[in-house]
Symmetry: C2
Subunit: 575 residues, 2 copies
């Protein structure tokens, strides 16, 4: 027995997702989810990916959605399967990535009564989804077919609108669970979308923009700051604005402004290193900051803006966004950034940046970059060298996916501006060390050349995600910095807790990276010198490969501290 | 700088947990959680366990809490770390296991503003926790010290009362994060608990019990059914009740009634096998069922009670429990089971069970057991043989932790009654295939001799939990039945979907069990015959060991089907 005509409810639902633009679905095995799993798999244009771990599947979908900048679907069975999606859904919420979470459920009469593998899935992700809807039991009635199409289109457009995020549709299914794909015209009205959503964006009225710029017009020491930007940001226009106003751009490593700028002297990449010294930082007094995108990775930047007198602090975000942890007096501008930049470029008010201010930054940036280049010379393969060399080796279009904790900080410091437009990504919504291999594999699954750069604890946390790359024979290069534990804690006050430091913070798990790599069929390398590492990462990525770089936590701390000191000294001497 | 006098807030909190009975805490590394992590570690009586993966840590705590039948604490840092606890919290809710989830958080002024690794943790587990409280920022004021003690005692008593489950306390922490343990009398009033909770249980008035039994007094064909029972259930009293009433006991494999009963002929272990045949099942018409504990694993049992005329269906549960998926007319008795059984034993109403009814069951049970024993003879190492032999090899007190999907079903069939009181456990709240290695390792961590029996997909899902056993040098035997995928689907209607069966349901991931085992330092065996397997599992567990049993999904289905048929035929012939 199969679902008969009721199958059309699901085929129309899935087809409407496809018509809306859905290309990928990530399915985890299960019984109750059979109707959705089979319908997606039968659909002629949607590609299915199957992975056993729902936590990993959700991060994998997140990676694909980030890469494609459009919604990816997830399908799981009832029970704790759905709870495993939670970490990636939280990350999607904060990093604004569209996901369509389709949870299969028992029908109402089999819920909340001790039936096996049935849990309460209604609103189980709380406020972390943008939209929740409990679907009707599949039926063939025309009103239900159109309802299924409406909900598919609506879920898709909700997921991607304004501040993208996850949506959850919960599907109750009764037996029988097998759809009938032999029905005529099974994909329904497949000539186009049934519901079309056209979503506008917040834009300031030009007069609002004039007023805003008017407040800045007598200020000569401004900074444009770019954190992680939405994928469709017109980076060229931001460069033009910096030219137009004669101000520096602080380019966070995830901003896509740092790389590919053809040597724009206004881009300052090493502000993190420059601002590490308090005395240097306090000597630099900006009049205003105009920030696009998320708060930058750099902690010295945060401390700096909190310490100096600032006349205007302006943060541009989408509607209801609030990414402003400095607690400064702030003007929150709710506008789509591209339109705002165009209005600013067209404004009748012309800001005149102080050439000396710009020059100071350019000079310090040059000094810092020289010191950073100096620090990565020689044969010793340090953590900083890894970040530096990965950037050097990457070409336009290549993706470097960066883990949290130390790797992203090292990348912010050591990834120097270059003309090739490389893509650097990370999971900076909630900054977790979970799901990083899965997310990077999601980027690889959409056809990118991907290098993942992460620490040994993050590697262990998501190790089994490597089975996805193996199963689908994806190309993925994983660079694991193995300092046997939580390297970042060596830089924090916890480091003084000699008694419990290794137990609670150092946490050495002695990960057998080589064996773990080979168990899943990855090529393994452990370069000992800078040159060996350089040779490895300058080769094109082909197949699955793990490069382990063994470092020492204490030594790493000394390297970093020594570099900060040299930069400060050089700035004080030459700057 | 350290927290100074405010440290007392946490030391008193942790000490009150200890005074309440807390013995174990599972900590995942992080910075924001430093005050809790250090205070637990400093506390003289609480033992800390540190693991890198919060999902796994929560299941590990769940295993310890199940084993000790008392609350275990969890500590994690802010961010997606806390979201990783969700699957185990859901399982704790449905399987009624007490956990105290302590999530560290940024202070209020650093929330919801784009600060790194800060997510909204308020009520983030929804209705899956019994109690949520947002704690105050630590302060040394006496009123806050007593508040900290009160909340500790309350969380502990809430977690373990009536229907145990998880509670969440969310702790906002400001810098500095290091407590000062040099303060005098740091653990406060450590001579005893500050708040003592004494929780009663629902009990029927004896007259209610009389009325209940009165309804059964003319009925001669009753069955006492025992699903998974609360750990403190007086199993002997249930045996006495069956004697007293002269009725059979259906003993689910997780009931702790099947094993250790010294040959009580009233215990029917093979009702699942007996009831598999519809004709046989329909010929057996019970008058009443009195069930203690959760719904049994057996699906044929569910179908049977739904198909036969039943005069009374009585389900005993704690207050507000509702584990009754049959949708039969049911009397839900809300009472602590032990007290109810005592009242029934003392009742003036004497039920007189039909000896023929009891005899029929005993005879069928004998036949089925004979066939099951026959099926596991010979040298071929089948999945059923694994379940059978693990039971045979276990001694009183030994723990067999059984995975979901096929292993628990095989265990229900092939684990025959024996006089040694072995403990069989599983995660049957939500029946997930996640967290099984972690949960079993939790049992091992509390000093049990543990054999974990699970499938290859479950093994992969939770593989990195093996690092816990390695780190703490626990004794753990892992028996992986590797049929390269989801064996259970071969028994479901999905099996007819030839086109997509392997892609969506079979899902072979070719797990390299040997390499994965050896990577984490486990001894590895792959027995080819029953005898080799028997020799391995009859040795005492010492150290870490993985036994891989390779089977074939189709062949396994044939084995099972043939056995059901033989049992049915023998019952029809001899019964």
């Amino acid at each position: 027995m199969n679902m008969g005509e009721a199958s059309r409810y699901l085929t129309n639902f899935v087809d409407e997702l496809a018509q809306s633009g859905m290309e990928h679905v990530v399915i985890s095995p299960g019984s109750r989810s059979t109707p959705l799993a089979l319908t997606f798999t039968e659909h002629p244009t949607i590609q299915e990916w199957v992975h056993f771990d729902e936590r990993s599947s959700a991060f994998f979908a997140l990676g694909m959605a980030k890469s494609k900048q459009k919604p990816v679907a997830l399908v799981c069975t009832s029970g704790t399967a759905a709870a495993n999606y939670y970490p990636a859904i939280v990350e999607a919420y904060y990093s604004r990535v569209p996901l369509i979470v389709l949870t299969a459920d028992r029908p109402h009469e089999l819920r909340d009564n001790g039936a096996p593998q049935a849990i309460d899935q209604i609103k189980m992700y709380g406020d972390y989804v943008k939209y929740f809807h409990e679907m009707a039991i599949p039926e063939a009635d025309p009103s239900l077919i159109t309802y299924a199409r409406r909900q598919a289109a609506r879920a898709y457009s909700q997921a991607e609108a304004t501040q993208p995020g996850a949506v959850q549709l919960n599907f109750p299914f009764r037996d029988p669970l097998i759809p009938d794909f032999t029905l005529e015209n099974i994909w329904g009205n497949a000539t186009g979308k049934y519901v079309t959503g056209i979503t506008g964006h917040e834009q300031l009225h030009p007069s609002q923009t004039e007023t805003l710029i008017g407040q800045l017009k007598d200020l000569s020491k401004g900074v444009i700051v770019c954190g992680e930007l939405p994928g469709d940001t017109d980076v060229e226009a931001i460069h033009q604005l910096a030219e137009h106003w004669n101000v520096p751009i602080f380019a966070d490593v995830l901003s896509h402004v740092r790389h590919g700028n053809n040597g724009n002297a206004k881009v300052i990449s090493s502000y993190d290193a420059i601002l590490k010294d308090e005395e240097v930082a306090l000597s630099l007094e900006p009049d205003f900051i105009l920030r696009f995108g998320a708060m930058p990775v750099s902690k010295p930047y945060l401390k700096w803006i909190q310490a100096v007198p600032l006349k205007h602090h302006i943060v541009v975000d989408q509607a209801s966004g609030y990414r402003e942890p400095s607690s400064l007096e702030t003007t929150m501008v709710y506008s789509e950034p591209n339109e705002l930049v165009q209005q600013m470029l067209k404004s009748s008010v012309q800001l005149t940046g102080d050439p000396a201010w710009l020059d100071t930054w350019a000079k310090m940036d040059e000094i810092a970059m020289k010191e950073i280049c100096g620090a990565v010379e020689g044969e010793q393969l340090t953590e900083g060298k890894v970040a530096y060399e990965l950037t050097e080796a990457a070409n336009t279009g290549d993706v470097i996916f960066v883990g949290n904790s130390m790797p992203i900080r090292d990348m912010d410091t050591f990834s120097l501006a270059k003309k090739e437009k490389i893509q650097i990504h990370g999971n900076r919504g909630a900054n977790g060390i979970d799901g990083l291999i899965s997310t990077a594999t999601g980027f690889a699954a959409t056809g990118n050349s991907v290098t993942l750069f992460l620490g040994d604890l993050s590697f262990l946390h998501d190790y089994t995600a490597l089975f996805i790359a193996r199963k689908y024979e994806l190309n993925l290069r994983v660079v694991v910095v193995n300092n046997n534990g939580g390297g970042i804690f060596s830089f924090l006050p916890q480091n003084t807790e000699a008694d419990h430091f290794e137990t609670l913070f150092g946490t050495p798990f002695n990960p057998p990276i080589k064996t773990l790599a080979e168990a899943v069929g990855y090529r393994y390398h452990q370069p000992k010198t800078s040159e060996e590492f350089q040779q490895l990462v300058r080769q094109a990525i082909s197949g699955m490969e793990i490069i382990e770089v063994v470092t020492d936590r204490d030594e790493n701390k000394q390297h970093h501290r020594a570099l900060w000191q040299r930069i400060t000294e050089s700035i004080q001497k030459e700057g």
